[in-house]
């Protein structure tokens, strides 16, 4: 009844208005409404006459025509996502209006795969990270900058080495053997973000994305559920990271920004190891304990003969860690400019970054340039360009997760050796006081070799868009992502490798190149329409063609005449040459349909059909559908007038995505080249599997987005349940088959989790305080494997085989070993749990002893600004994860190997009957006490002040006098404070980059660095 009344009233007033207009003296106003951002016409803008009921909408060209009464009138222009504008009109008849984007979060435009939408209409799980959140982080790569910024995204740098590998996992590990990295897309171009170079530097890898300048990023979109990702089909299962770079704005004054940063870095913590006299006492005790066990005199060992002579041996006391580490100097200079008129917009930037590693001789330098251009040729045709070039020079040292690496050797080296002799010359292998194998002289290993990796990343794309009709557009894009590396190394005779007899002992040089280029064409057709006012429909269809090719080559040279001759042209023996070529391709079709009723009930369906060269002959194509529904409760009548609630949206999605990064040619049974006695032939390489296919993830997600008080407080909660099956799996075969494994799709992994994101503007006004919090939990579990037999992975582990296990019911990253029960008070030997109860401690007693998956991860950012000052503090945490302190199998080895320095914990070792301690007695050559056990597994939880920044923007009244825009002075510090119970140097480890089975192992990992940077940004 009420409704009917209201409707009748509406019709009545419309009619009256119409007649009223007839009666009055009228005139017509016309005009065009465009967006201030890109000068694009805005169709569908409401143009109303204030104080009357007259109203029209702009047409497809953004034009309108409205009849108004004579005299002074006010026109109101409103459009979703834009700030409303009112224009007072007296006698003009043409009123053109530019609408500014509305800054409220709800109306923010977000990139969703191949299109964009407004935040309020998003009905899938995605998180936006704004570029300005990254500006205070002096990290080299976008991947690292994401750490702690988005719920559900777990980022860990492999080590504190600049330009090194970074592990990014979104919503848990989905795969054992295929890549777990998300798909990274920069302005629609999928980019390679892994290692390019081919030479081994221990566990340290380079990282293609570190050649890309973080400052060019406008925003990052992390797509997390099937409805967001299914448009990427067979590449979507690990999540998608969409990176949008900065572009010029239309009709904007050309704007130039210069930014300079300088700083200094050091490792977060240096391990405290024993001094010369302490380790010597320990070593002699270990020998004495060994001798006490011997029954025959001839088996006993004289510690003096081993060179362990008090007063002589310990005359030198070197802190090796201090010898190889330093404070690194960091500097970065950036210049960017952007601007545009109503037809052309541009963004141009260049930067130079120079970062000294904290290890001697380690240095990462980078030049980047980028150019984005958009041009509107006609109302129908526009085109654009993205160009980004990064060039890196990485002076590397062999380190990270390597026994023989510089850092690892320094930790292990005995303090009674010295790096330099009396003449301050480095000890090298031919010197009598050279420490010798296995530790060598880590200082020489850092300083003497030339180990350069030159990297280049080129990202370029051209696109064109043609609007057949304003709501029917065809967009096509051609792009290339090129990653190249050239490696130039020389190890002189003073180094371990350069002096190895097996390479000739006269220096060793190697040169290698590798490149990976991906070419892409994607073409999409988009269409949107409304049926009456209430039904909004949009859709797209598209096709994509992707082709990648990689080329590698390498050559080595040995037997150089002198150390002054360091290039392979001078080598006496040039051998081990290699070259290789590989390629893969993807052909896809995809589509999306979105529908909403009155912006209240939203629905979308997405699907992609992918064919990949990596799949077996019988499984070339995969289909990946998804659907999603959303309900904006705020639009319902019962909430419409509740003022403090800005928006409530409930959404759910379900769908399938895939992981096609399973390696090339894996489905083929192949033979490769082999040799014997100077002849070449072929040997079997792998077994064939024509059914080899993508890994498939079934994803279900429910989300709730709520905003209060005009967006002052908003939060998002997500719950998801994902199941990945058809895991790419090199099913281990017994050697009796002639092969080690068979590639197949067996097994499944489940990831279930909760995510919570909160944003709050606590104070607004002159003093502004905002808080951003994100917390997420992911439960990862191996649901099924090829067989009941667990798989053993990771590093080799004394007495139990391997450090890690993949076992049904346990998460990936599970540690394997004996359960350490402490030290026998009577004998001082280690006590292990006899798991199988057979009365002996053997390999069969190994069991699960922890896992590297955190229970909770998150980040908390508080920003304050007042009177030109701004302060931000970013805390990041990981809770409930274990770290295997694998380094302690060397550094706290109860006597197994005497040629290794020990941590301070060794001082509380068992020494006599009755000692109650957790460190077994030291006995020379005893391996039993150092079996890999839970003794090495520690709580790796931490809370870290990841970043704190203080800035001051100089008041405009001063800067304008010298013709500057804004000037901001700032200082920022990273990793300044850490709260953890972990006893190693740094709990933030991600050993074996790329490995999912062996995570969270601290194996001589160079700790993260703390950095203090000062800078100034000038804008004019």
């Amino acid at each position: 009844m009420n409704q009917l009344l209201r409707k009748s009233f509406f019709i009545l007033s419309m009619t009256l208005g119409f007649y009223g207009a007839l009666w009055a003296q009228n005139r017509t106003i016309t005009g065009k409404v465009t967006s201030a951002t890109d000068a694009q016409p805005l169709p569908g803008v409401n143009v109303t006459l204030k104080g009357a009921t007259t109203g029209v909408s702009t047409d497809a060209e953004g034009s309108y025509r409205i009849v108004v009464p004579d005299g002074k009138v006010t026109l109101a222009f409103s459009f979703v996502g834009m700030l409303s504008q009112e224009v007072v009109v007296t006698n003009r008849t043409i009123i053109n209006v530019e609408l500014l984007e509305s800054p409220t979060q709800l109306n923010e435009v977000v990139v969703t795969g191949y299109t964009t939408t407004q935040q309020k209409d998003v009905i899938s799980a995605m998180t936006t990270v704004k570029g300005d959140r990254l500006k205070n982080l002096p990290v080299s790569g976008i991947d690292q900058a994401l750490q702690g910024q988005a719920a559900g995204v777990r980022v860990s740098a492999a080590s504190g080495t600049p330009g090194g590998g970074v592990k990014v996992v979104i919503r848990g590990n989905t795969s054992i053997n295929a890549s777990n990295r998300p798909l990274m897309i920069v302005d629609g171009i999928p980019v390679y973000d892994g290692a390019v170079s081919q030479f081994s530097y221990g566990g340290q890898q380079d990282n293609a994305i570190s050649a890309f300048n973080t400052s060019d990023v406008e925003s990052i979109q992390v797509l997390k559920d099937a409805s967001a990702k299914a448009i990427y089909g067979a590449r979507g299962a690990n999540g998608v990271v969409l990176i949008t770079t900065k572009r010029g704005k239309a009709n904007q004054k050309t704007n130039i920004t210069f930014d300079v940063q300088r700083g200094v870095s050091d490792v977060v913590k240096r391990l405290d190891l024993l001094s010369s006299s302490e380790i010597l006492t320990l070593q002699r005790e270990a020998v004495a304990n060994f001798n006490a066990k011997q029954t025959r005199f001839q088996d006993m060992v004289d510690p003096d003969a081993l060179g362990l002579i008090p007063g002589v041996t310990d005359a030198v006391n070197t802190n090796w860690v201090d010898e190889v580490l330093r404070k690194g100097i960091y500097q970065q200079y950036q210049l960017s400019t952007s601007g545009g008129n109503d037809r052309t917009r541009f963004y141009l930037s260049g930067s130079y970054r120079d970062e000294e590693g904290v290890q001697l001789n380690n240095r990462f330098a980078r030049y980047t340039g980028s150019f984005n251009l958009d041009h509107k040729a006609s109302p129908k045709l526009s085109f654009g360009l993205n160009l980004s070039i990064g060039s890196t020079k990485n002076r590397r040292v062999f380190s990270d997760n390597a026994v023989d690496g510089v850092y690892g050797s320094a930790l292990r080296s005995l303090p009674y050796y010295a790096p330099f002799n009396e003449q301050s010359k480095l000890y090298t292998p031919n010197d009598p006081n050279y420490q010798g194998f296995p530790n060598g002289n880590p200082v020489a290993e850092a300083l003497l070799p030339r180990q350069l990796t030159y990297g280049i990343k080129f990202l370029g794309g051209v696109n064109a868009e043609y609007a057949f009709m304003p709501n029917l557009r065809l967009r096509t894009k051609f792009s290339m992502d090129y990653n190249g590396s050239q490696e130039d190394t020389y190890n002189p005779t003073g180094t371990f490798y350069g002096s190895l007899p097996s390479v000739g002992g006269q220096g060793y040089g190697a040169y290698g190149t590798s490149s990976l280029a991906t070419f892409l064409n994607s073409t999409i057709l988009t269409y949107n329409t409304s049926i009456s006012e209430d039904h909004h429909i949009s859709g797209l269809v598209g096709g994509e063609l992707l082709h990648s090719q990689g080329l590698t080559s390498g050559v080595q040279g040995r037997v150089f005449p002198r150390d002054e001759f360091t290039y392979i042209s001078s080598a006496g023996v040039v051998d081990a040459g290699s070259s290789f070529f590989t390629q893969n391709g993807l052909v896809s079709g995809f589509g999306e349909i979105k529908y909403d009723y009155k912006n209240k009930y939203l629905f979308s369906a997405t699907a992609r059909y992918d064919g990949s060269s990596r799949f077996g002959q019988d499984r070339k194509f995969g289909f990946f559908p998804s659907a999603s529904v959303g309900w904006r409760l705020k639009e319902e009548n019962f909430l419409k007038d509740v003022d403090f609630i800005e928006d409530i949206k409930l959404r759910a999605s379900y769908g399938y995505t895939g992981n096609e990064r399973i390696g090339n040619y894996q489905f083929l049974g192949t033979w490769d080249a082999t040799t014997y006695n100077g002849s070449s032939g072929v040997g079997p390489n792998s077994l064939s599997n024509p059914n080899l296919q993508w890994e498939r993830t079934r994803e279900a997600n429910i989300g709730l987005d709520v905003a209060f008080w005009k967006g002052r407080l908003s939060f998002t909660a997500e719950v998801y349940d994902n199941l990945t099956d058809a895991l790419l799996f090199a099913e281990p075969l017994p050697a009796t088959t002639g092969f080690g494994s068979l590639q197949g799709n067996i097994g499944s992994i489940s990831n279930r989790g909760l995510e919570f994101t909160l944003r709050s503007v606590n104070f607004d006004g002159a003093f502004r305080w905002t808080t951003d919090l994100n917390v997420s939990r992911n439960d990862n579990k191996v649901v099924s494997l090829a067989s009941e037999q667990p798989l053993y992975r990771g590093f080799s582990a004394a007495g139990v085989g391997a450090t890690n296990v993949i076992k049904v019911g346990e998460p990936l990253g599970t540690f394997w070993g004996l359960k350490y029960l402490g030290v026998d008070v009577a004998t001082g030997d280690a006590l292990y749990e006899d798991f199988n109860g057979d009365g002996r401690i053997t390999t069969d007693d190994a069991q699960v002893i922890g896992n590297a998956q955190p229970k909770l991860i998150g980040g908390l950012t508080n920003t304050f600004s007042w009177n030109g000052f701004d302060v931000s503090a970013f805390l990041q945490f990981s809770y409930g994860n274990s770290v295997m302190n694998y380094g302690n199998s060397f550094l706290l080895n109860p006597g197994t190997d005497l040629r290794v320095n020990q941590t301070r914990a060794s001082l509380r070792r068992w020494q006599k009957a009755g000692d109650i301690t957790d460190v077994p007695r030291y006995e020379y050559n005893n391996t039993y006490n150092s079996y890999s056990s839970s003794r090495l597994v520690e709580d790796g939880s931490y809370l870290r002040l990841k970043n704190v920044a203080i800035g001051y923007t100089v008041p405009a009244k001063w800067t304008s006098k010298i013709k500057l825009g804004t000037v901001r002075l700032y200082a920022t510090g990273t990793n300044l404070w850490t709260l953890t119970r972990y006893t190693g140097a740094d709990p933030e480890v991600s050993t074996l980059d790329g490995s999912t089975a062996a995570q969270g192992i601290d194996f001589f990992t160079l700790p993260q660095v703390k950095t203090i940077v000062g800078g100034v940004t000038v804008n004019f």
């Binding site: 097996s502 082709h547 893969n584 033979w671 072929v682 075969l733 009796t736 085989g801």
Partner: protein, 459 residues
């Protein structure tokens, strides 16, 4: 309509690109269906067969010498610490490597034997020779497997389904099969051309099969047969004892009957690296003393001393038998004439033939004479004039150390002569009777359900 034509265009585009993008040809790989289909494929597959078999070489040396009293461990690798300090576990990588290379060789031999009859175009003589080579290498692999691990699975085909759950056969069954293979190989292998030693000793010949049978019968304690086969080789005009320095530093000497060949480019160098590069292991004091003894004579050239290396546990001695890639002793010698003299001497001594031209003493003195070459009379190894049978056997045991150290014999010799317990307990307090066999690799037991609970005793 537009959308329809677009979809049509897209489909056309996709089919055109299918071959380029979706099926890029693999490079430097052969699909297994086409690897062995015509007679011209035979040489490349034959090289693959030998290439697989030669990976038995290095782990056999490690089994024969590192498990026994010939080395001490200095390095950091757990695998070698376990071998050196006699704490071998089923997860030891060297154990896995030997097992893997044995079965890889058997797989390739089976592949050749299964495929060869299906290829019509192969000449009968070629087929016969390749069949014999495959059987020779399979027989040798099974011989090594059975004496290292005891009973191992009897793998007679390339069928994946069978081989992944195959149970252990008895040691006797494996050895019987190895004998069949070696005898069949002997019948069909070529005599070889002694002019080209790289081929003559680098590939299987009738003589290689005879040498294998001589050792086979020695291990089986079939003394008469062992003596007979060894005699065939000793009497062959194709072989002669060369200077011991050449034995140490050269490949393909006149003495060599069969060796696994490497070149500069494919040399793995692992044994060299363990002894020289890393000093992961060094010769034990016992073996140093033995090799420097007067009885050993110039066979002391097996080792070299470097005082700069001598510190701590390192006695400063280094093995010379396995050189670097640039040196000319890259190969693993499997059978050589020196061993044939030792086999015959032992077989004769066991049969009570001690003195005279057909006695054990004559064979040992032949080696001792060579070991005295270039030495002053006072330093030459003493020749034996008389000995009881037990004295003779003990002399032969010592002589095998002098002659064959670091060629992968010592542990096998101690085990087959029943001396392991006595000798090894004196060497290491960790020694246990279980170490007379290596464990089945842990991964095999995990991956093959038929091996569950079938580990060798004690592990």
């Amino acid at each position: 309509m537009k959308r329809l034509s677009y979809a049509f265009l897209l489909t056309a585009l996709m089919s055109a690109c299918n071959t380029v993008v979706l099926d890029p040809p693999a490079v430097d790989l052969l699909i297994d269906d086409i690897v062995f289909t015509t007679a011209s494929d035979l040489p490349s597959v034959r090289i693959g067969l030998y290439s697989a078999a030669r990976s038995i070489g290095s782990p056999t040396v490690q089994a024969g010498d590192f498990t026994a009293d010939n080395i001490i461990h200095l390095g950091t690798f757990t695998d070698y610490r376990e071998l050196g300090t006699k704490q071998i576990t089923p997860s030891n990588g060297v154990v896995g490597a030997l097992w893997g290379s044995v079965f890889r060789s058997i797989y390739l031999a089976n592949f050749v034997l299964e495929r060869l009859p299906t290829i019509a175009s192969v000449r009968a003589a070629d087929a016969k020779a390749l069949t014999a080579e495959a059987k020779f290498l399979r027989g040798y692999a099974n011989f090594i497997g059975a004496h290292t691990f005891g009973g191992i699975p009897k793998v007679t085909s390339t069928t994946l389904a069978t081989n992944r759950t195959i149970p252990r056969a008895s040691k006797e069954e494996i050895l019987t099969w190895a004998l069949e293979d070696l005898q069949a190989a002997l019948a069909d292998l070529p005599d070889g051309d002694p002019q080209d030693r790289n081929v003559f000793a680098g590939y299987a010949t009738k003589n290689a099969a005879r040498a294998a049978l001589a050792r086979y019968y020695l291990y089986q304690k079939n003394w008469a047969q062992a003596e007979a086969y060894a005699t065939l080789l000793i009497n062959s005009t194709n072989y002669s004892l060369v200077s011991y320095n050449d034995v140490v530093t050269k490949d393909f000497t006149q003495e060599s009957i069969f060796e696994f060949g490497y070149t500069l480019n494919d040399y793995s160098g692992d044994i060299n690296n363990y002894f020289v590069g890393r000093r992961e292991v060094v010769p034990s004091n016992q073996v140093v003393v033995s090799l420097l003894s007067r009885e050993s004579g110039n066979r002391s050239q097996t080792l070299v001393f470097d005082f700069t290396k001598q510190k701590g546990n390192d006695n400063g001695w280094t093995l010379r038998k396995y050189g670097t890639a640039d040196e000319s002793n890259r190969n693993f010698v499997i059978f050589r004439l020196g061993e044939m003299y030792l086999i015959r001497a032992e077989a004769r001594a066991q049969q009570g033939k001690i003195t005279g031209t057909t006695g054990a003493i004559a064979d040992i003195n032949r080696l001792r004479t060579r070991a005295g070459d270039g030495l002053a009379d006072s330093a030459k190894p003493p020749l034996i004039t008389t000995a009881t049978q037990s004295e003779m056997l003990s002399i032969i045991e010592r002589e095998r150390v002098y002659e064959l150290s670091f060629e992968g014999h010592r542990w096998y010799d101690l085990v087959r002569t029943g001396r392991a317990q006595a000798v090894m307990s004196a060497f290491s307090t960790n020694w246990n009777v279980k170490y007379e066999l290596w464990p089945i690799p842990q991964t095999e037991i995990q991956r093959n359900p038929s091996l569950a609970g079938q580990q060798n005793p004690g592990y």
